[in-house]
């Protein structure tokens, strides 16, 4: 299941916002790999460039220099239809604020990527059934987002991110808008989908609790990788991993804001 096959290769990524004197160096030569089936967490202080990194991988913004390859194909050079096909089909994106389309029902939201990518109705039905069972949202498919709780919304959003069986799911603080209980439910679901189906997940988070579900964590500081933590699976349990995460967070200079 978790071979050592490289899925995502990030090489020497730089990102500079703006130009001239008011430019901000958000990413400074970041290099790392994501293996197939990995659940990788990214942590760091506010403004350290986490969202920027994720958005570069999601092709929402272009890096100033460097390359990002998914399955050996350089995605920074994608344009037009290639780009659209990459989004949704090769990657699934999970937003902090869910970003469900509030005028579509939950079910319609989930199957939208499939119909955009022209999957047949039969395949759609089958995948929808499986995912909604895994995420425990079978009963709310006909409801509109405004009728759902935050946790339900995020699970619907997760189903939408996963429906195309993307190579990788990118999640930017998926638990950021959820309470502890709902965060835990979501993380358990994501974690089990990661383990059972081998879905690769790249998740940005502030929350050490959520991060403890990951198999590896990268710490960013000022746009560069500062530290890396790896869960010693399977022998290490979640609570001891959690302790280690907290200690690294304390190490991050002035990172007290991130210590819960």
């Amino acid at each position: 299941m978790t071979g050592y096959e490289k899925l995502l290769e990030v090489r020497e990524i730089h990102k500079v916002y703006g130009d001239g004197q008011i430019s901000t160096k958000a990413l400074n030569s970041i290099t790392f790999d994501v293996l197939r089936g990995e659940f990788l967490g990214i942590m760091g202080a506010s403004g350290s460039g986490k969202t920027t990194l994720l958005n570069c991988i999601a092709t929402m913004i272009r890096p100033t220099s460097g390359s990002i390859s998914l399955n050996g194909r350089n995605i920074t050079s994608f344009k037009g239809t290639d780009l659209a096909r990459y989004r949704g089909k090769k990657i699934g994106y999970l937003f902090q604020e869910f970003e469900l389309l509030d005028n579509l029902t939950a079910g319609e939201n989930i199957s939208l990527p499939l119909s955009i990518h022209g999957e047949s109705a039969a395949i759609r039905k089958e995948r929808l059934k499986k995912l909604t069972r895994q995420l425990d949202i079978e009963d709310i498919l006909d409801k509109f987002p405004s009728q759902l709780s935050g946790g339900q919304k995020q699970r619907v959003a997760a189903a939408r991110a996963l429906i195309c069986s993307p190579d990788i799911v990118l999640a930017d603080e998926p638990t950021g808008a959820l309470d502890t209980k709902n965060s835990k439910v979501l993380m358990e679901k994501l974690s089990s989908i990661n383990q059972d189906d081998g879905a690769s997940i790249l998740m940005v988070t502030h929350d050490a609790n959520a991060a403890s579900f990951c198999s590896r964590i990268l710490f960013l500081q000022d746009g560069a990788i500062f530290n890396e933590l790896r869960k010693m699976s399977p022998e290490e349990d979640r609570s001891s991993f959690y302790e280690r995460i907290l200690s690294v967070m304390a190490l991050l200079g002035g990172g007290s804001a991130n210590v819960l």
Binding site: T105, I116, F144
Partner: protein
């Protein structure tokens, strides 16, 4: 600084709301065009010959103007309300940053004034140029000699346009900005959120839809069948209107939930963005059914205005043929001596004759004719003929020699009558009975006068006997001169003297110019006369009045309806633009999203126009059948009407296509901006 701020905000408003802003400019142009009507050359000329009717029309214009200002007010109010809601977060920030309420208020008013100023700056010169072109065109069509054309600016028109536009804008924004400025900053800051999707209450939607359809159908039915009952028109016409308006509103209210149901049913096998498109459309329809209904009704009114205006002015234009150029009333000797003067009018004239018209001194019996008529199948024309001939004992008669002189002067074959014969004449105003009457006459009719039987010629004569349009003989008999002299009783000693202009003069100077010249000479000499000029003037007047007012209203309706639709759509799109960004993030390409936006627009406009078109078919049908447009009475060729309808439809379609295209462009550019990656 403050002024700079106002200018910058004003500029961004014009950019964001280009469609709304251009509509304001178009309305300004339309306002000026209608307001300056009184100063237009044609109207100034018509005032000299048709002063009553012209002043009635000119009195109507302020009413039209106020009415259209009223319409504009709603457009301005609703557009700005939406605009303010969108900016309320910004306003809240200003207040939190310590701006005074009065400053905020004057800032909003200042922006409005500034934009209004720019719209006027663009609109007024455009309007002046346009009226100039219209003026040139009409005087070209009619002849420069008569109307003449000089560049003129109607200053009262300019002033009224400026005042009206400013008043409407300021009033609307005043109300809105008061409402905004008195709110606590907290509530302003909160208002940014988009209204959450309401649960589509399918049942109430369905009920609305069904009731809407039932009401509309009954309005159509009542319009087409019951409106013919002229006696009940004052009950039926308002009921049809009310049924139609309520029906349209309910229909649009229910439409949204039906779209929802069909989306649900088909969402399993929908491809691409079709679910997204349909849901967006559904939301638009559900949130804005009121605007859709009002726009649809306005478009309906515009269509009716166009068709009614075109066919109205067209049919009046064709109603009176030229048979006599001048009719002078007066003593025979005086007139004849004037005509024989060497340097007088005599040379300008190709024919002159006395038109002898009189009334019989005893009754005629029309028994057999009425009997024949009653055997014909029932029609409005037949009934009115029976009525007319039953109580028409004493008839007007025209002497044969006069009528032949008339026929001769217009180059038609003359009539020959034996002593026991007569011919039937009827004025072209009564054309709607002519078909039935000719049919009856062609089988050979008789009447009894003074115990003697006379036979009627099988042909009906309709060439007008005098230029005087106040004399319209519904039915008269053309009789041999001996008969006329014996039985006719001349009501006055003043006879009618007819003249026809010589063709050379007409060719040389143009008909209107030649008539104008002769009129001047006649009035100089103190004669009492009527000319065909007045009749032409009247036609011209109806054309001008009919086409100006109906076109003006039609255009106003169309502009308002389309702007309401377009602006509402674009604003809704603007407020929900993050959805496009999300759709793009989960894999929808820019071109797909653009296509989705365009198809939403087409449906949005299409639904509104479709309902208006269906209603207009029934609306026109019922108008044709009832009191307003009676085709047969106007003697209009049906092919012309069809051609006119096609022309109007082509104009309408072109207008809508342009509008939809503009809105699509706007939507495209919004979507492209969203899915740009930096």
């Amino acid at each position: 600084m403050f002024f700079e701020h106002i200018k910058r905000n004003g500029r961004s408003m014009r950019k964001d709301n280009g469609v709304y802003f251009s509509s304001i400019i178009i309305s300004i142009v339309a306002f000026y065009v209608i307001l300056s009507l009184g100063d237009q050359d044609v109207l100034r000329y018509l005032k000299t010959i048709e002063s009553d009717a012209v002043s009635k029309l000119l009195a109507l214009i302020p009413v039209l103007y106020v009415f259209s200002l009223f319409l504009l007010f709603f457009l301005v109010y609703f557009t700005n309300r939406y605009q303010m809601q969108r900016r309320s977060h910004e306003f809240g920030m200003y207040l939190m940053l310590g701006m005074k309420r009065t400053t905020l208020f004057s800032m909003i008013m200042g922006e409005t004034l500034w934009n209004c100023f720019i719209a006027l700056l663009a609109g007024i010169p455009l309007a002046v140029i346009l009226t100039e072109l219209i003026g040139l065109l009409t005087s070209r069509l009619i002849g420069f000699g008569i109307i003449g054309h000089e560049f003129s600016v109607s200053w009262t028109g300019v002033a009224a346009t400026i005042c009206g536009t400013l008043a409407v804008q300021l009033a609307a924004v005043f109300i809105l900005s008061i409402k905004t400025a008195i709110k606590q900053p907290f509530y302003l800051l909160q208002e940014r959120e988009v209204k959450a999707q309401k649960l589509p209450t399918v049942r109430s939607g369905r009920v609305s839809l069904i009731f809407g359809i039932i009401l509309l159908a009954s309005a159509y039915f009542a319009g087409v069948t019951l409106m013919r009952m002229i006696e009940l028109i004052f009950i039926i016409f308002p009921s049809v209107l009310i049924l139609g308006v309520i029906g349209t509103c309910l229909l649009f209210r229910g439409l949204g939930s039906i779209i929802g149901v069909s989306v649900r049913r088909r969402s399993a096998d929908a491809a691409g963005l079709s679910v997204f498109t349909a849901r967006q459309l559904q939301e638009n329809v559900m949130h804005q059914w009121g605007s859709l209904a009002v726009s649809s009704l306005l478009i309906l009114m515009a269509i009716i205005c166009f068709v009614y205006g075109i066919s109205g002015s067209y049919s009046r234009n064709s109603s009176e043929a030229r048979t006599v150029d001048f009719t002078i009333r007066g003593e025979k000797e005086k007139i004849e001596s004037m005509l024989s003067e060497t340097d007088g009018i005599g040379q300008l004239i190709s024919s002159q004759y006395e038109m002898k018209i009189g009334m019989l001194d005893s009754d005629i019996s029309w028994h057999t004719l009425i009997e024949k008529l009653s055997q014909k199948e029932g029609s409005q024309a037949r009934d009115s003929l029976i009525r007319d001939f039953s109580d028409r004992g004493r008839m007007y008669v025209i002497s044969l020699s006069s009528y032949n002189a008339l026929l001769d002067s217009i180059g038609e074959p003359t009539i020959e009558l034996n002593l026991d014969e007569a011919a039937m004449f009827s004025h072209s105003v009564f054309a709607y009975t002519h078909e039935v009457l000719s049919d009856i006459l062609s089988s050979g009719q008789r009447f009894i006068f003074g115990e003697k039987e006379f036979s009627l010629k099988t042909e009906l004569y309709t060439s007008n006997v005098v230029a005087d349009r106040s004399i319209t003989l519904a039915y008269a008999l053309i009789v041999p001169d001996e008969f006329f002299d014996k039985y006719a009783h001349d009501s006055s000693n003043n006879g009618y003297y007819n003249m026809m202009l010589s063709q050379d003069i007409v060719d040389n100077k143009g008909l209107m110019q030649a008539m104008n010249d002769v009129s001047e000479i006649l009035s100089e000499k103190g004669f009492e006369f009527e000319s065909y000029l007045a009749s032409m003037g009247r036609q011209l007047f109806y054309m001008v009045a009919g086409s100006y007012t109906t076109f003006y209203l039609g255009i106003m309706f169309l502009i308002i309806a389309n702007t309401v639709l377009g602006v509402k759509f674009l604003m809704q799109q603007q407020t929900t633009k993050h959805r496009y960004a999300v759709a793009s993030a989960i894999g929808a390409g820019t071109s797909e999203l653009e296509r989705s936006g365009r198809s939403q627009i087409r449906w949005y406009f299409g639904l509104t126009i479709l309902v208006a078109l269906i209603s207009s078919v029934f609306g026109l049908w019922s108008l044709i059948g009832s009191f307003m447009l009676s085709l047969s009475s106007l003697g209009v060729n049906i092919f012309h009407i069809v051609a006119i309808m096609i022309g109007a439809a082509a104009f309408f379609i072109a207008f809508e296509m342009v509008y939809i295209k503009v809105i699509c462009r706007k939507s495209d550019s919004l979507i492209r901006k969203l899915s740009d990656i930096g």
